[in-house]
Symmetry: C2
Subunit: 312 residues, 2 copies
């Protein structure tokens, strides 16, 4: 092949369920439930947890308890606690709460950025520069997300050069790491391989994360394609909850436990205790009040054998 | 990578929905509906269609119309019409109906074979030899399926050597082609790559098909792993219906239109008209009386863009 011949032995998994998942829930997820789940996720071996979003409570009512959640969770050493931040005000709130890392998001599809952020890309980048200025002198790390990196639902495929341009813009203003996000589930494995390779060739050593949705069933295949290009960091969402509420027809982050199950099956160390993670996932439907898409939760791990039938 | 560096430019897709899917339906699918769907699938560019199973109507009531379906479908040149056959009687019925190819199935997990076929592997192979004797002198082609090739739900992982042994047994008795089936969704991409490579190295030029389930979310990732090893033939099921009714917790063949969508997106020619296939899938819920798991059906093709919002 070599599909896995030169793939990394160790990857890092970032869970976005409590931010990206809960923000889409219509019923308010109680603050205590959020804190309890985050504290539990902290003990599974995840590299990062995207805790909340410092947005207007009017825009995303379910995350109106951002400060309280951020302040009351147990900050486990070795885990990076991330908050999404849309603007300077959000950045100030994040700094006040002592988050480890903020995540700034721009869609490189202009139409999607306008629809989602109400800004042109140029305006987003201007705002990012003002946010970066606020972070100077603080220990805060900044991750820049290139949304619709694998296609915009309005504008279609984005040239590789535009992804490279966005990454270059992010790095030149001092961001520490970059996420390429398949915001509406348009990525396919060939494209993931090509874009990941181009980005890592242009920016060797870049801490690069891939963020996939399973909208068209290709989520784990895309992660495999990223792995085969040496990408060592992946976003996923416990139970597969969440997605992009602004993108028509878009559903479904890839599921963290399904991703960990695939990687670990392939012999790739995720650092995550899959049983502990499945325990968290098992309690998720009770928290959100509905079934979740995760499949390993339903079918069990591939190593969980069944009792032999009496007849056999 | 090279994930897709040395992958085939053209693959062949075999649909198993009308056999593997319909056999699991509790409500009888009317014969006219079966024939109409098969005739429609015949015009999409599929390489093979697994039409029915010549089993006892008591064992699988939904396929009790095997002869009628097989005789009344339009036999389109270039499409191979396959029937599953469990024994000599089934083979005689298949020959009488003029099927192009029969499919013989043995699980290499002894416990699964006992539970599923009520035979030891040795007994299955003996029966296959008797079936092969019946086919001599006829134009009938024979495909041998190695079920539980990527793990048995009772006995666990199967050694690569056991897969190679089964393939060797099949070929030595004159079978024309082999399918490795992940009967209960235990396969993972690393394993698929390793096993496919071992089989193709041991039997160069073997017409090899891979059959995956999406039980643990890895179905399309496994197909990608097979592709990266040069495997050019894949089973899948329209709408993702069907699975193995005898395996506890097992659900879900991979979905034909989702597989075709992924391969075609990656630039791999499937020969299939995806829009025509999606048309067939769209009418499937009305035929089986319930929703089907296919995701592209729900989300649309990745190239189907949305109208720009008025605000943007």
């Amino acid at each position: 092949m070599n599909l896995l011949g030169n793939t990394p032995a160790r990857v890092h998994i970032n869970d976005v369920a409590v931010r990206d998942g809960f923000q889409s829930e219509t019923a308010f997820v109680p603050t205590e439930d959020k804190i309890r789940l985050i504290d539990r996720l902290s003990r599974t071996g995840l590299a990062k947890i995207e805790v909340t979003s410092f947005v207007s409570p009017k825009a995303i009512p379910n995350l109106r308890d951002a400060e309280e959640v951020m302040r009351r969770i147990e900050r486990r050493p070795g885990v990076v606690y991330v908050a999404l931040v849309p603007n300077e005000r959000g950045c100030e709130r994040a700094i006040a709460c002592g988050v480890d890392e903020i995540n700034l998001v721009m869609s490189i599809g202009e139409t999607h950025n306008l629809a989602n952020m109400r800004m042109t890309c140029a305006q987003s980048l201007e705002q990012f520069r003002r946010v970066m200025a606020l972070t100077r002198g603080s220990p805060l790390r900044v991750n820049g997300t290139v949304a619709t990196a694998f296609g915009c639902p309005f504008d279609g495929d984005q040239p590789k050069e535009r992804v490279l341009w966005a990454v270059g813009q992010y790095l030149s203003m001092g961001m520490h790491s970059v996420t390429l996000a398949d915001t509406t589930g348009m990525a396919h494995p060939q494209q993931v391989a090509e874009v990941s390779r181009a980005v890592l060739q242009a920016y060797p050593g870049l801490p690069l994360t891939l963020h996939f949705h399973n909208t068209r069933g290709m989520g784990l295949a895309n992660a495999l394609a990223g792995l085969s290009e040496g990408v060592v960091s992946y976003d996923a969402s416990l139970g597969g909850i969440g997605g992009c509420p602004y993108a028509p027809g878009a559903t479904g982050n890839i599921c963290t436990e399904d991703l960990v199950h695939m990687f670990e099956s392939c012999g790739v160390d995720t650092g995550v205790d899959l049983d502990a993670l499945l325990g968290c996932a098992r309690d998720l439907p009770a928290i959100v009040g509905h079934e979740v898409p995760g499949q390993v939760l339903r079918a069990g791990k591939r190593t969980e054998l069944h009792a032999r039938p009496a007849a056999a």
